[in-house]
Amino acid sequence: MALLAFGVIALVAVASALGLVLRRNPIHGALFLVVNLASIAAFYLTLGAEFLAAAQVIVYAGAIMVLFVFAIMVLIPGKEETGPDPRRAWRTAALPAGLLLFLLVAGTGIARLGTPLPVSPAPADNVEAIARALFSDYLYPFELTSVLLLAAMVGVILLARRRT
């Protein structure tokens, strides 16, 4: 049962990622990316990270993708990738490069997995464990994140302002 769920989610994730890269229309790409983000949220659920799954759906599939779709609507693209590609030779090198990258990352990742620690029971309450870590050990980075978001907000307002 778990195997079936993993297979289905992995298939959806890889297929939607390929759809994002291969489809020409950026709106289709954005929708494929939403599917991909949702499948990663499902992966988080199977890994016992319920809070991250919820945060993934709210922050990524909700907020960030709305921003992307909004930018696509503002710029109204669609015809920019038609016509001959002046750098076709370089871009065909992407396939072997991507394959090599996959083998490299998967190989090192699996080799570095190592042996699991003997005592590794997942905490019963995922949200409580994250909250305890976030507001004790990681309090300083947490506060810094708010400064980062404020700085990003100010920067975006400055960038979006029309020059007078």
Binding site: A13, F43, A94, L101, P123, I130, V156, A160
Partner: protein, 100 residues
């Protein structure tokens, strides 16, 4: 129980597909979305490794990555919109001012 190495393999596949997208595509918005894909693949690997070692720290780290990614998307999209508001074609090949 699914072995963790499978999760790592899926994460690596998503990362490689995202990298291919960054190389192949010419639309800056699609390139940006491919970067998001790579970020998510890295997040997935982080959660898998965190579960392997029975630690919740990795999940906190993923939370920070999400916050930083939100800020990055906001600033990046603002830059893209600002650049291409004055240009006719939406293609990264046109941005060659800083290239020798």
């Amino acid at each position: 129980m699914i072995p963790e190495s499978w999760y790592v393999a899926v994460s690596a596949a998503l990362f490689a597909i995202g990298a291919c997208g960054v190389i192949i595509r010419r639309n800056p918005l699609v390139i940006f979305m491919s970067i998001e894909l790579m970020l998510n693949a890295a997040n997935l690997a982080l959660v898998v490794f965190g579960r392997r070692f029975g630690s919740v720290d990795a999940q906190v780290l993923v939370l920070f990555v999400m916050a930083v990614a939100a800020a990055e998307v906001a600033v990046g999209l603002a830059i893209i919109v600002a650049i291409f508001r004055v240009r006719a074609r939406l293609s990264v090949d046109d941005l060659s001012l800083l290239r020798w």
